[in-house]
């Protein structure tokens, strides 16, 4: 395996980690709007992700940094090409981040209401926009011979990418509800379980729709047909298992299954892309690949050493922090936010 391929995998791992982790706190953030019945429940929900969301978001920053360092052309083309959606993404992430911190600082209802909206939109828009962006990567975008992406609105937003965006939102929501069922108690926990189960049907419909559209709209099944078919079969099994565990009220296992679904979904995108990183709709020759978008060998080598040295520590203390806060959050406890 070349270093270019290794870094492609590392970027994929960082995005998978991001969607797995921030996925549930996006889901919890969205559910504050309709799952919580009062201010106290909303606070319980926010506190259940309180110690984690910031570190979860760093996975996105690290993925961005890794793209910049390992594939400067990918980073440059994608970030400038998707300029306006990324502006909205940033606004959403900014509003959401400070909302967690600011919301509880003033007792006023209007104040809380305003930050509640920020938390809801800030948790809904990012997975949607990232879903749109990632489905765009495999569908193909107008990238010219100078690696410049000059995309109009409908290059970025169309039936395929919209379904992609909604699917990611739904996936994060179900994942977040399962996280809530793990971290809360009583009635709130029951409602989270119930809603998660109910949402499995629309999620299944979205998955099927997205898969069908992927066959029609993209070339990934032609390129990686066998492996993607295997992933799809595993996906179906995992999906059924998620339903089974939800029915049996085995929350931990069900959460594991929704997480696995996220893993498989994001991994499929990267499998479909490889060895390309962005597909050009103008000409195959203009697609960005792990070779023409990458940094030099020396840079990749240094980055590999640094990353492989640091990652075990990062994973170690992050897992440790989840262990420290494994206790359920309830109204009976002191709530920080």
């Amino acid at each position: 395996m070349s270093l270019n391929e290794l870094w492609f995998i590392l970027v994929a791992v960082l995005f998978i980690g991001f969607f797995f982790l921030e996925g549930f706190d996006f889901g919890v953030g969205m559910s504050t709007r309709f799952l919580a019945k009062n201010d106290m429940e909303r606070r319980v929900l926010i506190n259940s992700i309180g110690p984690f969301w910031d570190a979860n978001e760093v996975w996105l920053l690290t993925a961005g940094g890794a793209m910049f360092a390992a594939f400067p052309n990918w980073y440059a083309t994608m970030f400038s090409g998707y300029y306006t959606p990324l502006v909205v993404l940033l606004l959403a992430l900014i509003a959401r981040g400070v909302a967690f911190e600011f919301r509880g600082k003033v007792g006023n209802e209007k104040w809380k209401g305003a930050w509640d909206i920020a938390i809801f939109l800030g948790s809904l828009l990012p997975p949607f926009l990232l879903g749109v962006v990632f489905s765009g990567l495999i569908k193909g975008l107008p990238i010219d011979g100078d690696m410049e992406m000059k995309a109009g609105l409908f290059d970025m937003v169309n039936l395929y990418t919209l379904v992609g965006g909604v699917t990611v939102v739904m996936l994060c929501l179900v994942h977040g509800l399962m996280f809530t069922s793990l971290r809360t108690t009583g009635d709130l926990r029951q409602r989270a379980r119930k809603l998660a189960k109910k949402l499995l049907i629309p999620l299944a419909v979205l998955f099927v729709l997205f898969a069908v559209l992927t066959v029609i709209e993209t070339d990934v099944f032609e390129v990686r047909g066998i492996i993607l078919s295997i992933v799809a079969v595993i996906g179906v099994v995992v999906f059924l298992a998620a339903g089974y565990f939800m029915t049996k009220q085995r929350d931990g296992w069900a959460f594991g299954m929704t997480g696995t679904l996220i893993f498989l979904s994001i991994a499929s995108v990267f499998i479909g892309l490889f060895p390309r990183v962005m597909v050009s709709s103008i000409s195959d020759a203009f697609s960005l690949t792990v070779d023409n978008a990458a940094s030099g060998h020396y840079s990749l080598k240094v980055m590999t050493i640094v990353a492989l040295t640091l990652l075990p520590f990062v994973l170690g203390y992050q897992i440790w922090s989840y262990f420290i806060f494994h206790k359920r959050v309830s109204e009976k406890e002191h709530l920080e936010y």
Binding site: M67, P72, Y83, V87, L91, K105, Y298, F325, H334
Partner: protein, 466 residues
Amino acid sequence: MDPLFLARLQFAATTIFHFFFVPLSIGLVLHIAIMETMYVVKGNEKYKKMAKFWGKLFLINFAVGVVTGIIQEFQFGMNWSDYSRFVGDVFGAPLAVEALFAFFMESTFIGLWIFGWDRLSKRVHLLSIWLVALGTTMSAFWILAANSFMQRPVGFEINNGRAEMNDFFALITNGQLLVEFPHTVLGAFATGAFLIAGISAFKLLRRKDVEFFKSSFKVSIIVALVSSIGVALFGHQQAQYLVETQPMKMAATEGLWGESGDPAPWTVYAHIDPETGQNTFEIKIPYMLSFLSYSQFSGEVKGMNELQAEYEQTYGPGDYIPPVRTTFWSFRIMVAAGSLMILLAMYGAYLTWRKKLEVPHKWFYTAMLWAISLPFIANTAGWIMTEIGRQPWTVFGLMKTEDSISPSVTGGQVLFSLISFCTIYSILGIVMVYLFVKVIKKGPNAEKKSDDLKADPFAKEGYHVS
């Protein structure tokens, strides 16, 4: 609208705003770590209360610093894609390491610190805040390693029309970094110190929670004194380095068009006319520029006209003189603010040493309150000088700002993002100041509101004081 102008304006606005919060975070967390250490070592609850009270301000500030930092990482690719393509091989590495090493550390351990008062042992909790402090400082190191490459590119070779890294070690031992990092981080420590000292002084003036704020003042004034003197010393080092590596920036900082003469005098004040390339009026202190540049009272400094001619020889025709007035005045504003900080810190330390803090020093305490703004002014002016003084380059000698921009992004798009970011930042700024004032007014002994009481009054942890 001109996309280049808008993109530059946006980068300047978002970076300046971001850099209000970053140094304050770095400075405050150091104080909180010191206070909690005193709590763990001495076992005195007062220090725990101090760590918690200043911690509240830190957390509000940290949140804004974090979210405004996301834009920073994204906008190289978004607005400066040609720059990112050209230097990503070198410049991207420190950014990735910053995320991997520093961001993960600070974000994970800040969560443990906030939520871990009752769940971690005292020592592990203390370790958490020190790791946050280490994370924030390391973050500064890596981003400054990237910035130092822009000031003085090292550890690279040009291959296939772009800069490729060939020596990572050279990148992180860049001479520029070795003077820029301590200068910036000490400035950050001073920023936190002056905030705590200023608020404490204000409270002492009002005679509120005197014991608490006296102790806070003591801790912060020591940090203020050490760091503000340190900033000046490393600033002097940096100036000497500048003469060697970016003489044009130095000449612009001095408003020096022709020869300086030997020994070179330092210009305190000048009417600069960049159109004609001369100063119509100047006030000078003899010998000072020689000292600033070489730590001795002799030596000549090159002027802009001579350097312009040299650069045209090396880099081809073009205008290599940065905006002189901005560079000149931002340097003087920085030095003035820094000098005031040193004087105030010295006097405050003197009062502390002579145990005179409780005697009312109305003028001094009022001055300290206003002095909260000084490090912010100095930080901002310093960065304006550094970045404006590097123009027309983004990477000195390698790539010009006008060639760095994203070709596929239109002026309209940048206008949209500029307005959006400025709007949301204005809201954040207002809300943050409002929350700061609220927390400060309440003071360290504020009772928790009743809805924070736990529902079960008989539970072991039934009442949580925080």
